[in-house]
Symmetry: C2
Subunit: 263 residues, 2 copies
């Protein structure tokens, strides 16, 4: 399915109006059915739906590796992704669905409960990168963001190594864009540790948790973080870079991973 649609609009200025055409980004509902049970309906861009389904399940902690996915069928026309996994013995599906109401919706809120963040493994990677290299990666990232330039309506996310972009995705939702990147990494067996994630979107606690769960040591945003995003980055060992624009950036945590040129 095309990711954009051409529509008729009126363009209005103080001087008057004229009929013209505009390109808008497409949006579709994707219902994820896990082991014959309807789990969630995401609103998303009609691209890379397999990656989105797998990435969403991985971000929610419902699958840990590609091997757990026994079947994955996406019906784009009907907006349905069916995923089958080997269910664990004594698996409590009610609990899973209850959990998803809080952590899937807007969530991850359960992670803030005292003691929980401390129990999560810190990202241990010793990767370091120069500021000049980060500025260069963000320029490449900007150059790739094609649908955004055409429609102004989507977010982008990418997995990079220090040399360039390895995986790139776009979606109307900033969460979906990152889930697509991680879904592809899982399905195509692309390592995420010792690597860098760039996002066009703001860094809330949820985004930070997604990235830390995949052991990514450096998270880069062109936009702003929240205070909980910054705090979790510090607690979980993630180097968080915000407002990376042109030749400037803010380093919010673990600044030791950002080294001077030539180091």
């Amino acid at each position: 399915m095309d990711s954009t649609e051409r529509i008729s609009i009126h363009r209005v200025t103080r001087e008057g109006r004229q009929g013209t055409e505009d390109l808008v980004t497409r949006e579709m509902p994707l219902t994820i059915i896990l082991n014959n049970r309807e789990l969630v309906t995401l609103l998303c861009s009609p691209l890379e739906l397999e990656y989105l389904a797998v990435g969403f399940l991985a971000s929610e902690g419902l699958i840990k590796s590609r091997d757990e996915v026994k079947k994955l069928i996406v019906d784009e026309e009907r907006g349905v992704a069916r995923v089958e996994t080997e269910e664990e013995e004594g698996f409590d599906s009610e609990l899973l669905f209850k959990r998803l109401i809080t952590s899937g919706c807007s969530g991850g809120a359960s992670f803030y409960r005292p003691g929980d963040a401390q129990n999560r493994a810190k990202v241990a990677s010793q990767l370091s990168v120069s500021a000049t290299r980060v500025f260069s990666l963000v320029r490449q990232f900007q150059a790739r963001s094609g649908t955004f330039r055409a429609t102004g309506g989507v977010h982008s996310a990418a997995l990079c190594d220090v040399n360039g972009i390895l995986v790139f995705s776009e979606d109307i939702g900033r969460h979906n864009a990152i889930d697509k990147v991680f879904g592809r990494c899982m399905l195509d067996d692309i390592a995420t540790d010792d690597r860098i994630v760039i996002t066009s979107g703001r860094i809330s606690s949820e985004i930070l948790l997604k990235v830390a769960r995949r052991s990514v040591p450096i998270l880069v945003s062109r936009s702003a973080p929240t205070n909980l995003g910054v705090r979790l980055a510090g607690d979980l060992g993630v180097t968080l870079l915000g407002f990376v624009r042109g030749e400037r950036m803010n380093v919010y945590s673990h600044s030791w991973r950002i080294v001077s040129d030539g180091e």
Copy 2:
């Protein structure tokens, strides 16, 4: 609670780094408990939590008027909003919670099912407004967006009449900002029909449905709509204005409500 937090960061340019301070927007989890049952946890800005709780319930169709709210207690410290309503006879709470998984999470997807959009009442308001007036309202809206200017991290939403802003809210989530506006309208008995909503965020189908549900005839965004947002605006009788910047805008639907100056 303050809506921003001052933190220590490193600012890095090609020339080097220096320690400085930055203001970041605060984020907190708010768990809404409806009639003693945990409904959802929203991540939000720590402002106007009563409005958010009521607005969220109204947007989900769980309450229709202020009279249905028998009790509303917000514990900001614990991040909990308890809402009690008079439960209907034969009210199927399982169904409600099932519905919320699809429509609350990322959702509203059920609305796309054939026949459903057609069954919803169209917005009938005969309100019209000049382009010049819209440009002026958006300038006022921009001037009000204080936390955004300070932190770059929040969305804004406002209810206006043709003369100016009546209700204004900010939140890290674009959905939450609109829910806060409508929650305040419900609690303070402020009419939303014959009025204008402005949002800083993109217009997806969910945002359009929220606004149509409150019978708002004109929806204004500084940003882009999706194709489903445009289609629903057409179907539901809402005038949708996007990319309203400076003295230009795109009119995506029901352009008859935008009149020339002096009309």
